[in-house]
């Protein structure tokens, strides 16, 4: 009997529950999809490095899942408490009819069970279907061919989803039980008689609070955009907290302020239904200041996270194709212990040969060269203050590397790029890192000359040239000086390199060669350590081995990791924001049914009512998004400082993609809310 009552309740309050139910389904589905990613990646034909990446990704997503479960848990508790509060009259009726609190509790328990099991079931089905689409994205993120399509179901992800959501529903049941135990009949009955009190906030106070809120926001904006790279984690937290407080104050005051402004414009206020519409919006916003702040912050984080993640991923993928045009690099560098101690350069090919290895054996073609360094290198004769400054002053660290033009051009030939032209007595600067480029461009524009190894060279170009020496996943060359071959002094020889391409390109064999190269490098380093201990080798050196396969796999790790993590959190935030707003707006429509009845009785057109509803719902959804967008303009400026470090030039595409995702999820909630409100109001009017 009680179960039938529960079922009937759910069916009757479907208009309240529909969005709640859909949100649960989406929550379960998202939870499943992202937890299934690691098993999907495991099913791909990945290299050893790739499977390692998949494992890291799986672990990261599992950790994030805890956070996501917490967010969804809070959302579920919030929503169910909210929906329960709206049923006070119904509970009062049950108690008046002589039902015990225990029985009321049971009704709620059965309801939660039905909704829980239903949403879990539907959510898992939706999740399994969606994750089939996701497997394509997984494959592309891992840069792996999908191979034959396979329908996959991750049992591990199902177990996790069921466990997590079961815990959440259990918490809801416990909370409901406690709430029922605390119910007092008199409170339940009187709750219906609450008279709607319109309290207009004091306009002066509103203005003051608004100004304080905006000032706090401005403070936070300026702080994070002025010198982004110098901000510590703790300082950033403080700025974010200031921003949140500012956001809260703005929301607290904006509805009152907005209403006052509109009211003062009589031509607007007393046109059609405007005075009704604006009053509704204002009172709606007034009751959800706190929720709105939370939603706005969630949207803000979503926008910044998604845009940055997409930008970084795209940047890395684009860059490593461009900045890593060879398979293999060995760099043999002395480790300078303090600048006065000059350690002699050591030829890496000879070093390998000495221990019986041939570093060039696996390579079809290669360039063997070394760079130089001159501690007294300086720029002179320029007009600006930057002239005369040592290049490391802006943070490139260590002495600036110098390369002979013939070596550099040999390398460019290997990379398949055109040659750099340099005349007698000239120099050029190659650079592909933004900050370095800015520094050198200014210097060269001022006509600075270079003093190096006792000679003075003049610049061939008025700006730095795009170029690099080391293989990398990003644009990280902060500046290397290219000089004529006869301008260097062998005494300044510093870092020795071998850069080349493997003789075999076949995947399987290549992996073997790669492993062999690593083993040889380790062996050489071991021998060198032994010699250093024996005293036959002066100074200390390290051998750095960089391979394209390693760079690719590292880029994939960070790219895929960031994309998935941000997409995961972003989606959950969007769903949570949309759901809270939708629930609020829908219940508000239920409360307002009698107002719409009155409007219709005094002869207001359905068209005008629909338009009023559109404006109300639109403003309700738009306001937090709008504020979040303003936040994001500054948040993204902050993020850009870091993104450009990796060498990403444009974030436009990434922002566009983010906007698309927000439109889909958040916009979906908006459309559903609008349709739901319309239905509620029409049904209410018809039944009247």
């Amino acid at each position: 009997m009680l179960a039938r009552l529960s079922l009937a309740n759910i069916r009757r309050s479907l208009r309240d529950y529909a969005i709640y139910f859909c949100t649960l389904v989406i929550g379960v589905a998202v939870f499943y999809v992202f937890n299934a990613v690691s098993s999907q990646a495991a099913a791909l034909p990945l290299t050893a490095g790739g499977s390692h990446v998949a494992k890291v990704l799986g672990d990261a997503l599992a950790a994030i899942s805890l956070f996501v479960a917490a967010v969804l848990g809070l959302l579920i508790v919030y929503a169910s408490r909210f929906l329960m509060k709206r049923r006070n009259r119904e509970f009062a009726l049950y108690l008046l009819l002589g039902m015990s609190k225990r029985q009321v509790s049971t009704i709620l328990l059965v309801e939660t069970l039905i909704i829980g099991i239903g949403s879990l079931g539907v959510g898992l089905v939706v999740g399994v279907l969606l994750s089939q689409l996701m497997s394509g994205l997984v494959a592309s993120l891992f840069d792996a061919s999908m191979g034959a399509y396979r329908f996959t179901v991750s049992h591990d992800a199902i177990t996790k989803a069921v466990r997590n959501f079961a815990i959440m529903y259990a918490i809801v049941m416990l909370l409901n039980r406690r709430a029922v135990a605390r119910m007092k009949l008199i409170d339940l009955m009187q709750s219906e008689r609450r008279s709607e009190q319109v309290r207009l906030k004091n306009p002066v106070l509103c203005v003051v609070v608004f100004v304080i809120g905006v000032a706090l926001l401005a403070l936070a904006y300026i702080a994070v955009t002025l010198e982004p790279l110098a901000i510590t984690g703790a300082a950033l937290t403080i700025h974010i907290i200031i921003g949140i407080i500012g956001t809260f104050l703005v929301f607290w005051s904006v509805s009152g302020l907005f209403l006052r402004i509109v009211m003062s414009m009589r031509d607007v206020y007393y046109r059609d239904l405007n005075c009704f519409t604006f009053r509704q919006v204002s009172s709606k916003i007034n009751t959800v200041v706190f929720s709105m702040t939370v939603i706005c912050i969630m949207l803000f984080f979503t926008i910044c996270m998604l845009s940055s993640a997409f930008a970084l991923r795209n940047g890395m993928y684009a860059n490593f194709r461009d900045r890593c045009p060879a398979d293999f690099e060995v760099r043999h560098a002395p480790i300078a212990m303090g600048s006065e101690e000059h350690v002699a350069y050591d030829d890496v090919v000879e070093r390998y040969a000495r221990y019986g290895f041939d570093v060039r054996a696996p390579l079809a073609d290669c360039v063997h060269f070394h760079t130089y360094s001159d501690p007294s290198l300086s720029f002179v004769g320029g007009r600006s203050a930057a002239s005369g400054m040592a290049p490391e002053a802006y943070g490139s660290g260590g002495d600036t590397e110098i390369i002979r033009v013939s070596d550099y051009n040999a390398l460019r030939a290997l990379f398949g790029r055109e040659q750099l032209e340099l005349g007698e007595g000239e120099f050029a600067i190659i650079c592909d890192f933004d900050k370095g480029r800015a520094f050198y461009d200014r210097m060269l524009k001022d006509g600075s000359q270079l003093e190096v190894f006792g000679r003075t060279l003049s610049s061939r170009y008025r700006q730095s040239q795009d170029g690099f020496v080391d293989l990398s996943s990003m644009r990280s060359n902060a500046g290397i000086v290219v000089v004529p071959d006869d301008a260097v002094d062998e005494a300044g020889a510093s870092i020795d390199r071998v850069i080349g391409n493997y003789a075999v390109q076949d995947g399987g064999q290549r992996q073997g060669i790669e492993e062999q190269c690593r083993a040889e490098r380790d062996a050489v380093e071991g021998q060198m350590d032994a010699e250093a201990d024996a005293g036959t080798l002066q100074g200390s050196y390290f051998i750095r081995l960089i391979t394209k396969d390693q760079i690719v796999s590292e880029s994939i790790t960070s790219g895929a990791l960031m994309t998935f993590v941000c997409l995961y959190i972003g989606l959950v935030f969007l769903v949570a924001s949309g759901a809270i707003l939708a629930l609020r707006a829908l219940t508000d429509s239920v409360d307002s049914v009698s107002r719409y009845e009155t409007l219709r009785k005094i002869g207001v057109d359905d068209r005008d009512i629909d338009r009023s509803l559109l404006i109300q719902t639109g403003l309700f959804f738009l306001l937090p998004l709008l504020v979040a967008c303003v936040h994001a303009v500054f948040g993204m400026r902050f993020m850009m400082a870091f993104i450009t470090l990796v060498g990403v030039e444009s974030v436009f595409g990434s922002i566009a993609l983010t906007v698309l995702i927000i439109l889909l999820v958040y916009g979906g909630y908006f459309v559903a809310t609008l349709a739901g409100s319309k239905r509620i109001i029409e049904a209410g009017v018809r039944s009247a």
Partner: protein
């Protein structure tokens, strides 16, 4: 021509074999400038009749003509258009919008008629003065007494100068003092502004303010009473006698 003429209308509920007639062949007319009260015991069909005239409900058969337009034939946008332009409503439970001030509630009736905001102010203030609510215009419904709320509702009904004002038990939720004040204001509007009022009530005292009273019983026209030269008190006496007959008849039926 009559302002309103109701011709042989019926309102039936139920199925073929179990038909209840809430209104059973009622016909009457209202002239411009009249103040007509419709009386009858509960279940006599008076509210149903008013709902049909106000286009909130539809008739099963018969015609309702307002200035020659058959309003039973109107649909959709034309219907709300007609209601907005020609009718003013006063309800028992006021039906004021709780989020708006008294002023805004009255102004809304004008703004939905697309009247330019410049003209709204003077009209709201004029009607507020006539109804004695000028000092509560800035208050919200929850800050007002029942009588004030009903006078605001009356102001909202007349501010648009409708062809006819329809009032459904306007004094039903008021104490006697407020009720008296409202009725005096209504007859003032009727006499000075020439407003045509059709009022449903079960209260004899309220009905005594009207110039004509139509009695309904079991969905049929039972009796009509005209004030003529009689004073309100004399009319009240007559009404009481008719009501007594009505109720006696009901007692007989039991």
């Amino acid at each position: 021509m009559k302002l309103l003429s109701v011709r042989n209308i019926e309102k039936r509920y139920g199925h073929k074999f179990n038909v209840t007639k809430a209104i059973d062949g009622v016909s009457f007319g209202v002239d411009a400038g009249e103040f007509v009260a419709i009386m009858g015991p509960s279940g006599s069909g008076k509210t149903t009749l008013l709902n049909c005239i106000s286009t909130i409900d539809t008739v099963s058969s018969g015609q309702i003509l307002l200035e020659g337009t058959d309003i039973t034939k109107l649909k959709g946008a034309a219907l709300s258009d007609f209601r907005r332009k020609n009718l003013g409503f006063i309800f028992q439970d006021f039906n004021l919008l709780d989020t708006l001030t008294a002023y805004e509630n009255i102004a809304l009736a004008l703004s939905i008629q697309k009247i330019v905001p410049d003209r709204i102010d003077e009209r709201v203030n004029a009607v507020a003065k006539q109804l004695g609510i000028a000092d509560v215009l800035e208050k919200y419904p929850y800050q007002m007494s029942g009588g004030q709320k009903q006078r605001v509702a009356a102001a909202r009904a007349v501010v648009t100068s409708p062809r006819m004002i329809l009032a459904d038990e306007p004094t039903g939720a008021l104490d006697s003092k407020s009720a008296k004040m409202l009725l005096e204001r209504l007859s003032y509007l009727n006499q000075r502004r020439g407003a045509t009022i059709l009022m449903v009530t079960h209260d004899s005292l309220s009905a005594s303010y009207a110039s004509r009273i139509i009695f309904l019983k079991d969905g049929k026209l039972f009796y009509q009473l005209k004030r003529g030269q009689a004073s309100r008190k004399q009319l009240f006496g007559k009404i009481l006698r008719v009501v007594a007959t009505l109720e006696e008849g009901q007692g007989d039926a039991r």
